[in-house]
Symmetry: D3
Subunit: 251 residues, 6 copies
């Protein structure tokens, strides 16, 4: 089985082999994972503007991936830019970061708390919770106020996520913590350990690992997205485009 | 006041001066409306794939419109591709077709029914109802199964919309009918008359008219989108692009 | 166009020309606004007992207003005593203070917070939110604990509303503040400015202004209340009454 | 114990000793029930206009009843005109027809269906279901399209209610039928028998009986309405009134 | 009338005649109450494991009770182990502690707060609130962190419950307090008095008293559980069992 | 990895090696599945009475399984008797049939329909949907009215399930069909094929396969049930029992 890992961002060096290995860690030995980037779009997703810039290229890359023989695509972002669009266009499973982690988390606790990076993605994530009708199982979304591209300082991140997780448990009644950004990969074990040390035996779940295993499962079990919800796009005139500046001008 | 009418589609000749006049009919005399099209994107919105192709250019056109001195932008589509993205990027009000008609309709009846064009946009519209937390006031979305680009045969459309509206009233308890596609402009009066003739004194509301007046009101009253919900995009590397083929290749 | 401003209270001198000008400030030049009072009822609305005393006279005054040629009636109170009753009895639009401000606020933010005057009106307002099915978009109602008839000390009011608004933003996640009493007219600008000064770019909306513009829009666009939701009263014996004491005895 | 039966209507001869005996049938031997009527108001409640005409007098009659030594008041109507107002004003329990029957019905089945008289009261009843947050347990409200003052032809009524009840069971999944008008007293046993005859062992509940026993229980158990939800009215100027025409002019 | 009081626990001496008299205090003079215990099961219910151990014997004891001529059974626990099972198997009313107190509480306030014993029963009680579709009327469940079998130190319990009740009122907006464990019998009056002393006129309701009166009412009014919701068990092979050790081994 | 398959029924010969192979078909080669039965309980689960008879033994068997070295337990029933109880008592993942299929189905379509066996299990399944807060994603539960122990006539079953599935798609808007009884194993492929033949490209999911793969995933990813939701049972006196009649007397 071949799964495409597709961060919905252009390649500016963010994301390491280490991180890819980390999220792929629960895949079966015969599952291969490749990574592609977008040709155009933002260098990180920190709001719905970034999502909009990414969505079209995500959908088209999914078509390309299906044609290239991939069995599934992981749109590697806790938001899900272009995910529903891609499901209309292809016949292979496509997941962003939110849905798989949410569905696994539902099996672990009555109330789930998302701890994410920045205040600006809170409405985006609460929007996903509403869009997928899961408000009754999720508490309010919390954030640590650290931008995505600064997430690599793990010690600070671990401490901040642990603090917000404790508030989620004590004040919001959360039973499971969901890491609300795919770029938070790598802190799950440490946060879980820190919570355990304070007497909270609470699962902490990482969205990349969850998504890749969910996709692998969909392929193994021949599960697919319903064509009642995701009808194929009609043929019509659609105007494509190409990147204007390959030199990554800041906008 | 200058409002930009922005159908989130490329210009393939769809949309007439007549239709523009129709939706602008309730604007105040000193409100001007211009119409722009996308440089790239689909030729109509009939699902979330089309929305994804349109979203980025919609958001960027809104930035351009604000810079050009427009006071507000109507993303002329019952879906709202790029609308939330645009609100992050600009300081002027931006509405798609769904929200304004929904908010006016809430003032007219306890239960509202959307009658739209095609089955493939039903999940998109039910998604907007869920995203905006309005499930308790809306009945299930109904459709007449006519593609957007065939909507210009008004007689057939009027008859089909009237039939679905009667079912919405009788079977779903709807008190108000909302026309669920901005391209359905022009049938409101006839449908309302037909329903009246059968004893149903039920408002039928058209989304373009509703959106333009809502935007005009926002400008007049200095209402704006909250920066808690729509935080401005951080500066970062974002890759732009340009249209690949100006000759409207079918995809 | 002629709109009737109908505070659902007897005239004891509360309400000034200044306040009327304030709420009418966004009306079009050719829209006239007159003000009537009730013949009997309470001198302010601070709970459901007061609403019940007002409701009948509100409904009958709306009938009188329609007969006198008014195009719309604003029942000038954040509760909506007699509003649904009046809609059954007349063919012109009738709004209280809650619905219009709620519907405009829905277009500004994902989560909206009402800040009102007294604890005793909180169940009344939370009841309106429930009755109109908007719980998912509104946070809990907050109050400043100042009686309606003491609202004219603006400095104290502005400070108290600003404090509660900050709590609504920080603790409840509110993105927009709605002033939950029509007698709070006049503080909107100051509260908004104070919130801005603390870095919150959050709309503050005033219900009288919102209601009058909503009514004006309904008239301009020929929008009306559905006769499925508001069926006309059947003819039957109904006993009317007259005021017992014109000298405003305290009850 | 003395309970006041207060139909929120003026006395035009509707309501018989038989009907009063019927609803009082489950009261304890030492519970007395008296009946009062309004001095002004409608001759029946068939919509929110009628409710508004009744509300003030209902609230004031409850004050009068408390002063006269009554232990509880039943506002004898499936709508609840003036009920919440009265609870603010008195210290004795006050119930309309909806709440008690709803709360008993909740103990009998997962899904409950109200079958009422006329289409115009459907929004009023669905409004109560929403106001009291019980949407998840109630199916859509059904009606037999018979005006209140014609309800005395029992055979027709029984047959019509049975038919709608069967639809509620088969199409809406209802497990219990609630008679949605206090003037439907007297058909409960026959409808239940008819449903049994078709194999449906489904409770049919009558609102007058339910309300009177609920009130009796509240008095016996010293239960009362919370002063957090129902704060006492502040002292202020309130204008009372007297009936204009005792000769029951039609309006 | 004969009601069976059935604590879903084995008899280890917990529960006194005093407590039984306390919960029976509002029963009518001609209502008899007997108490049975389980033959096997836990010695107290403090989670869903205990519920599962009790459920079968509860259901079978209800069958036995019906055969022995009881008119109703109170499964004396705020959880409701075996209650729905028993309703399928018998034709008499069966209630646990949660439903009756909830339904009476609904008539007292807009928002209700359960204060219970231990954190481990919070998910069980929040599960009942969800199962019975009452989330909109209940605030989060609070607890005093005292095990059931230590509840007999009333002073500590009263103080702790009063403190949590005040938080429920101030922070969660509760208008009525529900004692969330049938073993909390006996503190209701003192907690209510303590809340009154701080200016909160808020009902405090005890679940045993509520349940017994609800059952008595069901019998008096011939109310019963719908056979649409609770269909009788089909005949089939079912394996019964007997207690293994009568000497109450700890598990 | 070793997973225990635990049908919550006594062994009366129902369930074949073929059916076990069918549900285990997506397990990894190195995952072993054993099957145990209850020592006491019902011979099938067709309502909440049967669930109550099974619950205690299910929970105790899970303890036994954990002690015997199993890594996970599948309580092989679409209801989930004893599942939450078991999670309190053990440290390994335990799932019934409902949750895993629900969580996978959420990833396939916006609206999901359960098609089950008998009317008496409908309230049990709708109860699970409510308990797990998933009402917004599930349509009403449909059934084919065939008892569990007659399910082995596959042709009749396939036809009946296909018919109900088509109604779920057409009338309720379902996008995915969930087989609502673990004993329906074996018809998934045929129903899916029949729906495809009518133009519905709609996933049909089987609960045993879903549950076993979900458990395997939990073990592989070290996911577990939160100890906030499922606190371990306190030590206390609990009375065990033994089967009374090993000869399977009908009850």
């Amino acid at each position: 089985m071949k799964i495409l890992n597709l961060p919905p961002i252009i390649n500016t060096g963010f994301g390491s082999q280490e991180m890819n290995d980390y999220i792929a860690k629960y895949l079966l030995p015969d599952t291969e994972m490749d990574t592609w980037h977008l040709d155009y779009g933002p260098s990180s997703i920190e709001g719905e503007f970034d999502e909009a810039l990414a969505a079209a290229n995500v959908a088209l890359k999914c078509v390309e991936a299906e044609n290239a023989g991939y069995d599934a695509v992981f749109v590697n972002c806790f938001g899900d830019p272009g995910v529903r669009a891609a499901r209309e266009a292809v016949n292979i499973p496509v997941f962003g970061g939110f849905e798989p982690i949410a569905y696994y988390a539902l099996g672990t606790a009555d109330k789930i708390s998302v701890v994410t990076v920045l205040p600006e993605v809170v409405p985006m994530i609460e929007g996903e919770i509403a869009r997928y009708g899961l408000e009754k199982r999720f508490t309010k979304v919390r954030h640590v106020n650290i931008p995505v591209l600064d997430l690599e300082e793990l010690d600070i991140l671990i401490k901040a996520v642990t603090e917000e997780s404790k508030k989620a448990i004590r004040e919001d009644g959360a039973g499971t913590i969901v890491l609300g950004c795919t770029a938070m990969a790598g802190v799950k074990e440490e946060v879980e350990k820190a919570l355990n040390a304070e007497g909270y035996r609470v699962p902490v779940i990482e969205s990349g690992q969850a998504a890749l295993v969910m996709l692998e499962t969909f392929v193994r079990m021949n599960l697919y997205h319903s064509r009642i919800t995701y009808m194929p796009p009609r043929e019509k005139v659609r105007n494509l485009w190409q990147t204007e500046n390959k030199d990554n001008t800041a906008v």
